[in-house]
Symmetry: C3
């Protein structure tokens, strides 16, 4: 099986992935991938994602061929993605593909004899990020039902928030949306009665989760004062934390560049580094799942 899009997942799948991640969290070494090889095929750099899969594969007893930060010409001397995939499928048992073009993972899956895991295809999808985000919420709060989740930042371009929102829609979750007016979430993602605002204070008091992503202020506005105002509105401050619930969960896919000051890192509600750890266990779950029962070795 391939893992290409969050649209593949039903509620049962999510339960299975979370249960598997829990298993790997408890038992950090295992032999699900013994003798197997992962090709980490990254047309775009992403140290975080590639390292996470690398570590996950090794902890499952497998091996990794790292193909990092190659551009089109150097990896393939002009050959098509399809030919590169068919070649790598001769050498590896599973491929994590990071690529700049939407739909690249689906194209790869069409020709691959081994499972393709979408590690991010441009502004398209990054489904294992959504899985680990969901798993983080489950681990931190014990449930995904009855929650109020605040999504903040660039909601127009961010693939992360959209993918996570799709998964949360399988549960009883209310989402509030905080962004500059120009970067609002496309309306098909919003349910009747949900709040859209440009002010985190309006919704943070009742938030169970605040999921922060980056606003690229520089691209939007050039006046210094306006940027300062934006920073105040779309960064999380000590004042926000002071009015938030004592068991609120503050998340961020990282890297951050100012949206959450380091002074909040020691707040027990700051979950973004735990989120990285949960990511490792979820990627172990994903690799073990797509590799399936061992067929040889």
């Amino acid at each position: 099986m391939h893992l290409l899009s969050v649209d593949q997942f039903g509620k049962d799948d999510l339960e299975e992935y979370c249960a598997r991640a829990n298993y790997h969290r408890q038992s950090r070494q295992d032999t699900s991938a013994s003798g197997k090889i992962l090709a980490n095929l990254f047309y775009e750099p992403s140290t975080r994602t590639s390292s996470s899969f690398y570590s996950a594969m090794v902890r499952l007893g497998g091996h990794v061929i790292p193909i990092n930060e190659v551009d089109y010409s150097s990896v393939a001397k002009g050959e098509t993605l399809e030919d590169t995939i068919r070649t790598m499928a001769c050498y590896a048992d599973v491929i994590v593909l990071r690529h700049g073009e939407v739909g690249a993972a689906a194209r790869a899956a069409l020709v691959s004899q081994v499972p393709i895991i979408n590690g991010g295809d441009g502004v398209g999808e990054h489904p294992t990020q959504a899985l680990l985000d969901l798993y983080t919420i489950r681990q931190e709060l014990g449930t995904t039902d009855g929650l109020h989740v605040v999504m903040m930042g660039d909601l127009l371009h961010g693939r992360t928030v959209k993918s996570l929102a799709k998964l949360l829609r399988l549960y009883d979750v209310r989402i509030s949306w905080v962004s500059p007016d120009q970067l609002r979430i496309p309306e098909e993602f919003v349910r009747h009665g949900e709040t859209e605002t440009d002010d985190l204070f309006e919704v943070i008091m009742e938030a169970d989760v605040v999921y922060v992503t980056r606003v690229q202020k520089e691209r939007m506005i050039t006046s210094y004062d306006a940027r300062e105002q934006l920073t105040m509105n779309y960064s999380v401050t000590a004042t926000h934390m002071a009015v938030a619930k004592p068991d609120m969960v503050l998340m961020h896919p990282l890297p951050r560049v100012g949206e959450i000051p380091t002074s909040l890192d020691s707040d027990p509600r700051a979950a973004y580094f735990r989120q990285m750890s949960y990511g490792l266990f979820m990627r172990m779950a994903v690799l073990a799942k797509v590799l399936g029962p061992k067929t040889w070795g």
Copy 2:
């Protein structure tokens, strides 16, 4: 022992390598390289070759230090190839060297305390490619004797066809040569009575193997019509396949850029992706052979 050139191989060697590759094809995991380390030292990028050796080493139970796409300055801060090799020979048990200069592998072998495998030295040699090509023919046709092999493309500059031709000369093989007039095979490679032509149709009907390599048309001619004509003559078409033998074997070292259209990929005679797989087993054979019996570990 080092593996530097196809000139090293006698018929007995080829038989041994093919038998070893067969063994690894059947038994895709083994411990010949257990505890051993391969340094994949690539001064030039070659994802295909480096990944193939990487996978082969891991399937033999070994480990790989990937040193990819380094240019001279970054790998060595001005040091000589010889010093770099002597250093890496302290850390690794075998070195695959890809380098832009003819003779680099031989220079490396002179100073190395561990086996050097030539992974391509400029327009010089790429002997493991020739081995895997020969092995592909053996696997597809069951023999290397009595065959008619057609070599097509840039026969003047291509190291691949020359190396394979040298190996085929150890057997009872007739070669036909198809190329633009400017890119003919140097005459020392041609035997009396062999056909040289610029038209694949002239020889394809009796071909047991058609080995296609790239013609860099852009470098040769600038007129559009002439390029079109060249494309017709030096690409394989459905019409060519229609007149070819039903058990002909169509090979290409890849990457391809138009010489063989993807519409032929599903033809059972299209062997170029199987060729990649055979390459893995042959590189396992090569690594196991040069590492020899385990001396420690």
Copy 3:
């Protein structure tokens, strides 16, 4: 524990590291790092250092995530070193950090939940190089006491000679300093009565160790004659070797670019390639030490 600076080491520590390196020299495979993962986080290229740690970790039964030659933007898209470290500490059990800024390793250690090994921080420190240099002297001469060590080259900028000098000060060692006048060792490193000179001949006859580093002549002087003179004074020649002790040890951290001609490589006193090998064993010692007794796996 972290390994950040030679200032951490007392004499007992050095004895322990040398004993551990000896153990790994005898027993080149071991399971001290079984199931553990090293992140080789190199913001600057250093094939020698990264390969050495890679090989050491694998020979201890562990695994390596190679993150080579990344520049700031690509590794982190603008994130701080601290955030990158906290992320990698989720995926790896130990981090070797090579970074262009003095103090980077110390900053990393402040936030890391796993051991940080300083693999070179700009003009700051490279403590495992100093350990392997000391170990080389011990292996070659059997002792570190009563020795006369000559340090030659760019003594002003070189971190290698300063770090080694600090370690040698724990023993009964006399150091002589040979450099161009503009590149003299800062005076706090010199003890009363020690020789400072610009002429190797003045001290080589009584030297037990000659430790050579690179002088970047091009940066200093532009006249051809003056450069030639400098080359004569700060390179080791056959004449130098002829007047040196028969059991003198000639060292160089490599890469060399002319300071020691290849014609001296076969002299048994030329220890610089053995130095590379000792480096592997010392890095095995360092990794095994910082990983400590296995806590899981």
